[in-house]
């Protein structure tokens, strides 16, 4: 089975070369048969990669320690779920997951791209194949998971205990679906550059892929944030860790791409910019892969630090980013520029959105790479953390967030800011009221905190106003209104939900950062502590035994008003003997939208335990908002116009006419 997987991987590499070369030449020579090779090869390549991945996963599931990779990252006593997720809880396996998803997207283009012009489809698959070939070679040359050990060890060295969590089952696959999903946008852009032709229908094909990738990336980041929050026991949800930034930069650029693609589709403007943005977004994904996989940065995510791998990925990075940007420089002038528009219009608002988002992505990029540059050119070592990002990223985001509700309400071509402002009066008044109420009635609220709450309310109500205005609230009778609301295009709901989710996330962040409280103290069994009006009693410390760890479980009770316990929270210190590692299992109690978070520290000589408690108001909204954003993207995807593989008959005809009229 293992050798089959290894062999399938080599075959998939060979096929990716075929997928690169044959359709590319086919498109050049306009040879239908050569171009048609791309599709079946892409699907077969995906099937082989899936077989290879399944072989590795089954080796993990059956604890086959004759594989060096399994031996290093698994243990026979691990629960089955962590044995399986351990497949991608290491460098080699996660790279295999990376190419699996890459070939999966290639196969999707092959399967659903039958309505694409033949040359565009061939070129897209060729570029996708080239990316695949580079990464297959990387895996086979430097990170082969199928290397055998002889003699086979009896027992494995265990998966890093921090990774022995359900989060590992969800976070990396979602994140990679997002990261790698942008490869399709990249391939479409490079294909358009190769052809030297770009039209509005190009945006119509690219937009659903961007939406899919963005949806998964949003989920991946939100999931990763929640995982770090409960698993690391530090109570934070975002650390501005370079690896987090690595996923956040493509998200910012991808969000910009999502918006500029709308302008391109609707108004045939911003063509060249959209194309460049698609290239940049995937380049940032590649950069993220490099930062994480090369080990130039040390963090929780750096499983391995091997210089040959870093150099190899750097070569891939240079080849694809440099190559695509060079092609862009050569060909961009040949592409017809789009139409002009009035600055105050929906297009104008979307341009402003792009300006802010790309600048924000750039500041994150500078903050992430600056320490590397300083280290390379001088003896100094520096770190850039939250204070830097608070000073640069936050001032860029605030004006953008203030403008968000205006965008969807502005008309195309020439908008009327005052008209829109009038429609937003209710939302504005409510936001102002929320600000004042927070400032006056909540103890310890700073001016900034009150403004933050106001901003979040503004975003949430702004998104709802958009729906209300489009349904004609105040202008039509209720049944008419309801019918109009139901009849609105799904993409209108998508926009409103995405913006609503953003508002919820902002509210969660403001609530947690500005109104959260924290206590650190050492407690004896039976003692109580009060935090933000809630009383918590420490019951005691109880030892327990897990399948591959032992733990000291601290039990806590939440005391109700009557003095009797109303809830139980337990937090533990786990010890994993194989790796000699201790982890903290935080205890979390969700009360409404807020959470009480307890983390255990060291045991003192007198039997007391250091306990850290947080009250985190509205914290669940941070990730809940992410889910709402994902739902928005899903609704947009269901819009008739965008439904993948289900184009209207009329469009097909107009495209046929358009391609026939092309010289």
């Amino acid at each position: 089975m293992v050798e089959t997987g290894h062999f399938a991987l080599v075959l998939a590499f060979a096929l990716s070369l075929v997928q690169t070369i044959v359709p590319l030449f086919g498109a050049r020579l306009n040879n239908q048969r050569l171009m048609a090779v791309g599709g079946p090869v892409a699907v077969t390549g995906f099937a082989l990669t899936a077989l290879s991945f399944a072989a590795l996963a089954s080796a993990y599931a059956s604890s086959d320690f004759s594989l060096a990779n399994v031996w290093e990252n698994s243990h026979s006593l691990q629960p089955l779920i962590y044995k399986i997720t351990g497949t991608w809880g290491n460098h080699e396996g996660s790279m295999l997951l990376w190419v699996l998803i890459l070939t999966f997207f290639g196969a999707l283009v092959a399967a659903f791209g039958s309505n694409l012009p033949a040359t565009l489809r061939a070129n897209v698959l060729a570029v996708q194949g080239a990316i695949g070939a580079a990464f297959f070679l990387f895996i086979l040359a430097t990170s082969n998971p199928f290397i055998r050990l002889n003699p086979a060890p009896i027992e494995g060295r265990d998966l890093n205990p921090i990774l022995q969590d359900l989060g590992l089952a969800i976070h990396p696959p979602l994140l990679y679906l997002g990261y790698v999903g942008f490869s399709i946008c990249f391939s479409f852009s490079v294909a358009a550059l190769i052809e030297g032709r770009i039209d509005a229908s190009w945006a119509r094909w690219v937009r659903p892929w961007t939406l899919v990738a963005w949806m998964f990336l949003t989920g991946g980041i939100a999931m990763g944030s929640y995982w770090a929050y409960y698993e690391l026991g530090w109570g934070g949800f975002w650390f501005w860790d370079p690896v987090e930034n690595a996923s956040f930069m493509p998200w910012l650029a991808g969000t910009a791409l999502l918006h500029s693609a709308i302008v391109m589709e609707k108004r045939s403007a911003l063509k060249i910019w959209t194309l460049l943005l698609a290239i940049l977004t995937f380049s940032l994904s590649l950069l993220g892969t490099f930062l994480v996989r090369s080990g130039v940065l040390t963090s929780v995510h750096a499983f391995a630090t091997d210089p040959t791998r870093g150099v190899f990925i750097l070569c891939i990075l240079t080849l694809f980013i440099g190559g695509s940007l060079a092609l862009f420089a050569l060909r961009a002038s040949k592409l017809t520029a789009g139409g002009l528009f009035h600055p105050i219009s929906r297009e104008g608002a979307l341009v402003l959105n792009n300006l802010f988002l790309t600048t924000a992505a750039a500041t994150v990029l500078v903050g992430t790479l600056y320490p590397l540059a300083v280290e390379a050119f001088s003896a100094d070592k520096i770190s850039v953390g939250a204070p830097f990002f608070n000073l640069t990223f936050a001032p860029l985001m605030v004006p953008l967030l203030v403008m968000v509700p205006f965008g969807p309400l502005l008309a195309w071509k020439r908008g009327d800011v005052f008209g829109v402002a009038q429609r937003l009066m209710v939302a504005f008044a409510a936001a102002l009221l929320a600000t004042l109420v927070t400032a006056l009635f909540i103890d310890g609220a700073s001016v900034l905190a009150a403004l933050g709450v106001g901003l979040a309310v503004w975003l949430i109500l702004g998104a709802l106003t958009d729906l209300a205005v489009k349904a004609g609230v105040g202008h039509a009778a209720t049944p008419v209104m309801a019918r109009r609301l139901v009849g609105l295009p799904r993409s209108v709901f998508g926009t409103a939900f995405a913006h609503l989710g953003l508002g919820l996330t902002v509210l969660g962040i403001v609530g947690t950062l500005c109104f959260g409280t924290e206590k650190i103290l050492s407690m004896h069994a039976g003692e109580t502590v009060e935090i933000s009006g809630r009383t918590v009693r420490f019951v005691g410390l109880y030892p327990a035994q897990g399948p591959n760890y032992s733990e000291d479980r601290g039990r806590f009770e939440l005391i109700g008003v009557s003095g009797s316990p109303v809830g139980e929270i337990s937090s533990a210190k786990r010890f994993y003997p194989v790796r000699q590692m201790t982890t903290t299992e935080s205890g979390i109690k969700t009360i409404g939208l807020s959470q009480l978070y307890i983390s255990l520290g060291d045991e003192g000589k007198d039997g007391s335990v250091v306990v850290r408690l947080w009250w985190k108001p509205l914290v669940t909204l941070i990730w809940g908002g992410g889910l709402v954003m994902m739902a928005g993207a899903a609704m947009s995807l269901m819009d008739r116009r965008l439904r993948v593989g289900a184009p209207s008959r009329r469009r097909k005809q107009t495209e046929a006419v358009a391609s026939a009229s092309q010289p």
Partner: protein, 146 residues
Amino acid sequence: MTRKQKRLSVILGGLAFLAAATGLTFYALGQKASYFYMPADLATASVQPGQRIRLGGLVEKGTIQRGQGATVAFSVTDTHKSVKVTYTGILPDLFREEQGVITEGTFGPDGVFVADSVLAKHDERYMPKEVAEGLKAKGVWKESKK
């Protein structure tokens, strides 16, 4: 305004925005980036009290003292010099004597380093990169046994 003037003003506005963002970024890098030092580096570097730095090294043997509540005092050493550090909070799971740590914070007026965060290695095989390199540069690095 003519069409040309309009376009020019939009472009100028965009450029001014970018210039402001660039300026802010460089200002923030100058102010908010924290430098990494080993204890022996502190003799030559002029670190002001209140300036945010990262201090890395090994936790010196026998120096961990647990005080009132959750406050811990210990010394960080690079085997040449050592610096007293205080920290209030829960130490990372892998905080131990003679292990690599990175602490971040500021020097108080009394010369004691007040850390607001302490990072230790994440598993047996991992040493914070800066600490490993610093120790190698000082010739006291021991290749750890796996």
